[in-house]
């Protein structure tokens, strides 16, 4: 496998992980709105359903993007595909 193919394979795997986490917090948990509301887990005292829509999922997305960007940079570095600063 060429260097480029390996790079793309790793990139694609990272995409799948990222999208899986994204799916859980943007779609998955909202199948269980009623269960979340009844749950005894109450972040800062809010009902869990309310908290996830106001802050929880939103905050996770922010962290997820920065995590994804960091991982992708590592992959690019590993295969020497990082941009030169003066590009």
């Amino acid at each position: 496998m060429s260097k480029q193919q390996q790079h793309w394979e790793k990139t694609r795997n990272l995409l799948f992980i990222t999208l899986a986490i994204w799916f859980v917090f943007s779609i998955g948990i909202f199948f269980f709105g009623a269960e979340m509301e009844a749950s005894s887990i109450r972040p800062f005292g809010y009902p869990l359903s309310y908290y996830m829509t106001c802050q929880g999922s939103l905050g996770i997305f922010v962290i997820l993007i920065f995590w994804f960007a960091g991982r992708q940079e590592k992959i690019d570095e590993e295969f020497g595909f990082t941009e030169r600063e003066d590009d």
Partner: protein, 606 residues
């Protein structure tokens, strides 16, 4: 000249700007104490901020193509994040969102999830690759990746339909705020709004829009957060509302049952007397009040729409590198998060201020005559945004007898909660900034697509730089006027048009863009079929549902993008597979796009 220096000095420049703005707010507060009228304060706030944007717009004027289209590709990560956040957060986010949450609760908050979750798709599927491509516009990518004018034209078509739907809503919002703040008729205010929008973008294109958007973000975030923190502290609800309003949320639940929410219903005859566009509280504040599918389908449409809307995507063409584009998406979402996680808090504080009889601001349970005598009630009633009526004739205001416009939640809450008027002026300036920045981005996206992709790439490829930029500016003015003219007709509410824009963009562009990077086998025929059939089927479904059609799968007029994008995906795959695979040059191009290093696919100037 200023360029190199300006970029290096950005934190300092915007630091001074922010300090200056805070000083201005303090000066206004002093002026209010000294007896300046509310009306003058409103005028000062809007006029002062718009004048600053115009000056920034003028200072950023340019005669270079890459500065005009992509701000010279040198916007640093964090600042591009701020600009994108302003670009993104429209009048709908600023003025209408807290109102929507106030009235509809959980079901409405699908928009919060959708409008943030979409950025994960932007970061992982598209932005870095399109940045590597080196295009000026979104159709530029489609046209080059798939090859041929038909693909390019189809992309221009989808882009125009989606962005134009969106921009009329934003010009409408600037008009609404300008008309309230400057006290002029809406029909004229729309054109005042338009003039301010054009001042920011005409001379400097993307470069001017970038630097005004950063300035607008600073104004709008201060204008949103200051009242939230202030009201929360004044009410004693918590120093840091986002983490401390759980008791207030629970208290609203108590009051709701105490006031008979959901049990006391208004008769149709009573409701007919309520002015159009105003609503009462009919849904519980924090309860899960919608089916999972309704919530999820709306969130999915907003997420895919986010990833397909050209005015957002083109912001990531302005970063210096692919790596910067990726990080910049994270910063964008962070800056958006600051406002979005505050909107539910504002809705909570606003509702409690009005409802709780133990607070001095509470009006429910007071006598009708007493409420009618309140200053702010009279003002907002006159502006057609508030209404009370003694339906049951007991002389006391009940929860089901109080009606408010969605916009009033953001615009009127500072006044209701007893904050000085200077805060209301600030909020008006913030709303104006939010609507203007989005309108700027959208008008520019349409004008750039028409001037670069239609005029330069298809009609007159030999046009000189000067001529290209003149055409771009003329188109900008024409599109602005067309948008303002339609906005003046007030066909659809602000929020409705915004949601439609997402569905249009998702129907036509989502899969052609994503598969352009992630599926090498996708070819021009497939992409054209995907764009045109997606847009056509989405539009057909919308028209069908609007004209009384029953719809299927629970897809409503707010989520028609689900139908459009599914048709788009299927037709794109089927047509691609039954026609010839893209040639090796195209395949190589896709390989190039997939690695960050090396030259961009399209040259620096093209």
């Amino acid at each position: 000249m200023i360029k190199g220096k300006f970029i290096d000095n950005l934190p300092k420049v915007y630091g001074i700007y922010t300090g200056g703005f805070l000083v201005f707010i303090i000066l206004m507060a002093i002026a209010e104490q000294a007896g300046m009228t509310a009306k003058m304060i409103g005028i000062f706030f809007v006029a002062f901020t718009v004048a600053i944007y115009a000056i920034i717009g003028y200072l950023s004027r340019t005669i270079q193509v890459d500065a005009y289209y992509v701000a010279g590709r040198q916007v640093p990560t964090v600042f591009n994040g701020m600009a994108t956040a302003a670009d993104w957060m429209s009048g709908a986010s600023f003025v209408a969102m807290a109102g929507g949450i106030y009235f509809k609760g959980y079901g409405y908050m699908a928009l919060l999830v959708g409008w943030t979750g979409g950025y994960v798709l932007v970061a992982s599927l598209l932005a870095p690759y399109l940045r590597k491509f080196g295009c000026y516009t979104v159709p530029d990518f489609i046209g080059t990746r798939y090859g041929g004018n038909v693909a390019r034209l189809s992309a221009v078509l989808v882009l125009t339909v989606a962005s134009f739907t969106y921009v009329t809503a934003q010009i409408n919002a600037t008009g609404t705020i300008a008309s309230v703040a400057l006290d002029i008729p809406f029909g004229i205010a729309v054109y005042v709004g338009l003039a301010s929008i054009l001042l920011c973008s005409m001379l400097g294109g993307m470069r001017a829009v970038t630097w005004t958007q950063v300035a607008q973000y600073i104004v709008l975030i201060i204008a949103y957060l200051l009242p939230v923190f202030w009201i929360s502290n004044k009410m004693g609800a918590g120093v840091f509302p986002h983490l401390m309003l759980a008791d207030e949320v629970a208290r609203i639940g108590e009051l709701e049952s105490q006031f008979g929410l959901g049990t006391v219903k208004n008769s149709a005859a009573d409701l007919a007397t309520v002015p159009k566009g105003l609503a009462g509280i009919t849904k519980a504040h924090a309860e899960v009040n919608t089916t999972p599918w309704k919530f999820i389908s709306l969130a999915v449409c907003m997420m895919a729409g986010t990833a397909s809307l050209p005015h957002v995507m083109m912001r990531y063409f302005t970063t210096p590198s692919v790596k910067a584009a990726r990080r910049s998406v994270g910063w964008s979402l962070f800056f958006i998060f600051l406002l979005y996680c505050s909107a539910p808090m504002l809705a909570t504080l606003s509702k409690l201020s009005l409802m709780d009889p133990t607070l001095p601001t509470g009006i429910i349970g007071k006598s009708i005559a007493e409420v009618q005598a309140i200053d702010w009630y009279q003002n907002w009633n006159q502006a057609n945004l508030m209404f009370i009526s003694d339906f049951n004739g007991n002389g006391t205001l009940e929860l089901n007898e109080f009606f408010m416009g969605g916009k009033a939640v953001v615009l009127a809450t500072p006044e209701i909660a007893g904050l000085p008027y200077v805060i209301s002026g600030l909020v008006a300036a913030g709303g104006m900034a939010a609507a203007m920045s989005t309108a700027d981005g959208l008008v520019l996206a349409i004008a750039n697509a028409l001037s670069h992709d239609l005029y330069y790439k298809i009609i007159d490829p030999k046009a000189e730089t000067a001529k290209r930029l003149i055409v771009a500016r003329v188109l900008l003015v024409i599109i602005g006027f067309a948008g303002a003219t339609i906005a003046a007709l007030e066909i659809q509410g602000i929020l409705g048009s915004v949601i439609w824009a997402f569905d249009f963009a998702m129907s036509g562009l989502f899969f052609p863009l994503v598969l352009g990077v992630w599926w090498k086998r996708a070819n021009a025929q497939g992409a054209v079929a995907g764009m045109l059939l997606g847009l056509a089927s989405g539009t057909a479904y919308l028209v069908w549902v609007r004209t009384g059609g029953a719809g299927f799968w629970g897809v409503t007029q707010l989520t028609f993008g689900i139908v459009g994008s599914l048709v788009s995906l299927i037709s794109m795959i089927v047509v691609s597979l039954i026609t010839k695979a893209p040639d090796s040059a195209t395949q190589k191009m896709v390989d190039e796009v997939r690695v960050p290093s090396g030259k961009t696919v399209l040259g620096k100037q093209h």
